[in-house]
């Protein structure tokens, strides 16, 4: 029988890592907007909508360990990943500019920072969502194979 609460240290560590990445990313985005005073654009907000709840949901799944948390967290991670991918493509100019959904306020392609010349904020977001989604998918594979 599938025991959703059955705790394996490795499964727990995977979930902890996913939570850690989400928490660090959330704080990072708050740092950009509040400390460095970068105004977040519309696409950034859509990514935040997916990111911020993950911090709470994933933490909740840690105590006690609940494998079913993947069911609730993965859709958010995948959605956020999709927006981040779109944002990165838009930012790097691979998608034409007239597809751009932002009208006034902050442009989604405004360049704030570029570490090492190419690591932009949308790319950081894409990286984080990729890691979170990958970890959650691994967790899902591991826990469902325990089923039977």
């Amino acid at each position: 029988m599938f025991d959703r609460y059955r705790t394996s240290d490795i499964d727990w560590a995977i979930l902890l890592a996913a939570w850690g990445i989400a928490a660090a990313s959330a704080l990072g985005s708050i740092f950009f907007s509040h400390v460095m005073a970068f105004a977040p654009c519309v696409l950034c907000w859509y990514q935040r909508i997916c990111l911020f709840p993950l911090v709470v949901i994933l933490a909740r799944g840690l105590f006690p360990f609940d494998a079913v948390v993947v069911k609730y967290a993965l859709p958010l991670a995948v959605l956020g990943w999709g927006v981040a991918l779109y944002h990165s493509l838009l930012y790097s100019g691979l998608i034409s500019k007239n597809l751009q959904p932002c009208t006034q306020g902050v442009s989604c392609t405004e360049k704030y920072i570029e570490f090492f010349g190419f690591v932009s904020i949308p790319l950081l977001s894409l990286l984080c969502f990729t890691l979170i989604a990958a970890l959650l998918i691994i967790l899902k594979k591991r826990t469902t194979s325990n089923e039977i």
Binding site: A23, A24, L27, F31, A39, L62, F63
Partner: protein, 215 residues
């Protein structure tokens, strides 16, 4: 054990956040101070309007937008502090027209300056601001109703304000605002020190500190 690991990571993340924020603010403040000590033109351009004695040793640089409510609220405060310390403070006005259509208001101001009525027009704009710049119902064209009272030649104002020189001044100020990381208005610097965190009392404290060191 697991709770401890979790709590440890929480504390670590928060500590990194607070530490980096503190470090970042400190670095920024030092950078502005450096620029100010070298009297970098990024704070005062040749075209900048200056109120008060040119010999004053305390310089308040204000990045502002005529349509910004907080700028209007801070205007009397700055004037009070200046009046309380005659000859010791000068105010430099820089533009950060972040509101929609705010460029027009800046151009009106600059054109009024050509008629020698810059500060009167700025006051009139701030005072009538709720009528033309309200957020739920902005009516920028209504600003014209309040200008004749200042005694401006309106026909001349309307021609003057299209001077491309004014557009150039605005873009220079906007570029300087970006250099100084001003993303909200009003953005204050007192002798190059940024107002941080933003509040009325902190501005007064900052000015008083500079008065103490300079006089």
């Amino acid at each position: 054990m697991k709770y401890k690991i979790f709590a440890g990571i929480c504390l670590l993340l928060i500590a990194i956040f607070v530490g980096t924020s503190y470090y970042y603010k400190k670095e920024q403040a030092q950078m502005y101070g450096q620029l100010a000590r070298n009297s970098d033109p990024v704070f005062v351009r040749d075209h900048s309007r200056i109120l008060g004695s040119p010999d004053a040793r305390v310089t308040i640089v204000e990045f502002m937008d005529p349509a910004c409510e907080t700028c209007a609220l801070f205007s009397p405060l700055v004037k009070q502090v200046m009046a309380a310390n005659p000859g010791r403070i000068k105010l430099v006005i820089r533009y950060a027209p972040f509101h929609d259509g705010a460029d027009t208001f800046v151009k009106i101001l600059e054109a009024a300056g050509k008629q020698g009525k810059y500060w009167e027009t700025l006051d009139a704009m701030f005072m009538s601001q709720p009528h033309w710049a309200s957020h739920h119902n902005p009516q920028p064209e209504r600003v014209w109703e309040f200008l004749p009272a200042v005694g401006l030649d309106m026909a001349r104002l309307k021609t003057d304000m299209n001077d491309p020189e004014f557009a150039r001044r605005i873009s220079q100020d906007v570029a300087d605002a970006a250099t100084l990381n001003v993303r909200k208005t009003p953005g204050f610097f007192v002798n190059g020190r940024p107002l941080e965190p933003f509040s009325r009392q902190n501005l007064i404290n900052l000015i008083n500190e500079e008065l103490k060191t300079q006089y």
